[in-house]
Amino acid sequence: MTKEQVVLKIASHPRYLSIVRAVAVLAAEHCGLHYQAVEDVKHAIDEACSNVIKYAYRGDPDRQIVLCFMGSPESFEVTIEDDGIKTRPENLKERSLDEVKVGGLGLHIIRKAFDTVKYDESKEDGNRLVLVRNMIEEE
C-alpha cells in the first residue's frame, strides 16, 4: 500500500513550533494512533525540531525545516530534514534521568515515542532524522 504523505515546510523560528505540533496531531490522528500515542509523538516531533533550531542551525531563525509525515497500517513515520550542521548520532546528548540538570531530556522524549530513531546517512548536506512508530493492535 502507498503511504499517505503530508509535507510541512517551516522557517527555523521557534514561533512555528506550535504549527508543527498542530500538524503532527492531525497526521497522527489520521493515521489512527490513540490519544496518548498522539500526545507522545507530538511532543517528540516538537523536541526534534527544537533540536534542529538549537544545534543544526545554532538559533538562526531564517533557515528551513522540512517535515514529512507518512502513515500506513503498519507505521507512522516522520522525517525531519535540515541543511544545518551535521549531527553525529553518537554525539547526541542524552542525560541519565537520575541526573538533575538542564538539557538532555528531549532525546528521551523522542525515544519514548518512536520505535526507530535514526539519521539517514545518505543525506550529504544537513540532516534527515527518521522517526518510526510501529502500529500496534489497539492503535
Binding site: 521557534p14 514561533r15 506550535s18 505540533r21 500526545e39 516538537d46 523536541e47 527544537s50 538542564v102 528521551h108
Partner: protein, 115 residues
C-alpha cells in the same frame, strides 16, 4: 500581565507570596519569557516562589529546564520553588523526567503557601 503568542504570564500576590501563573503552551518560543520572570525573582532572592500550572496545556523540555535552572539558582540562598495545580498531562512529563522527586509539588496554591 506578560504575553507572547502562545503563552501568557500572570503575576499574583497571594497574602504577600509571589505566584507566577503561566497559561497556554510552554515551548522553545515561550520559555524564555518564563525564564525571565523566574530569574527576576531569583536575582532578588525572593522565597518562596510559587508557580501555578493549572492553565498550562503543554510543556516541552525547555520549559522543564527553565524550572530546573530556577531551582538551582535558588539553592545557594535556600530558596523554595513550589509548583502547584499541575494538570495530569504536565505531571506525566515531570514523572517521566523523574523531576517529580526534585520539585516541591502541591495540589493547590493554598497548600503551597502552607507547605
Amino acid at each position: 500581565m506578560v504575553t507572547c503568542t502562545s503563552m501568557k504570564i500572570e503575576l499574583i500576590n497571594r497574602n504577600g507570596v509571589v505566584v507566577i501563573s503561566p497559561s497556554g503552551e510552554i515551548d522553545m518560543y515561550s520559555s524564555p519569557l518564563l525564564r525571565k520572570e523566574l530569574i527576576s525573582f531569583t536575582k532578588k532572592k525572593i522565597s518562596p516562589v510559587i508557580v501555578a500550572l493549572r492553565d498550562v496545556t503543554y510543556i516541552d523540555s525547555s520549559g522543564i529546564a527553565t524550572f530546573v535552572e530556577a531551582l538551582k539558582r535558588m539553592m545557594p540562598y535556600n530558596g523554595k520553588l513550589k509548583i502547584a495545580e499541575i494538570p495530569e498531562s504536565i505531571m506525566k512529563i515531570f514523572n517521566f523526567s523523574k523531576l517529580d522527586k526534585v520539585f516541591d509539588m502541591y495540589e493547590s496554591i493554598d497548600d503551597a503557601i502552607k507547605g
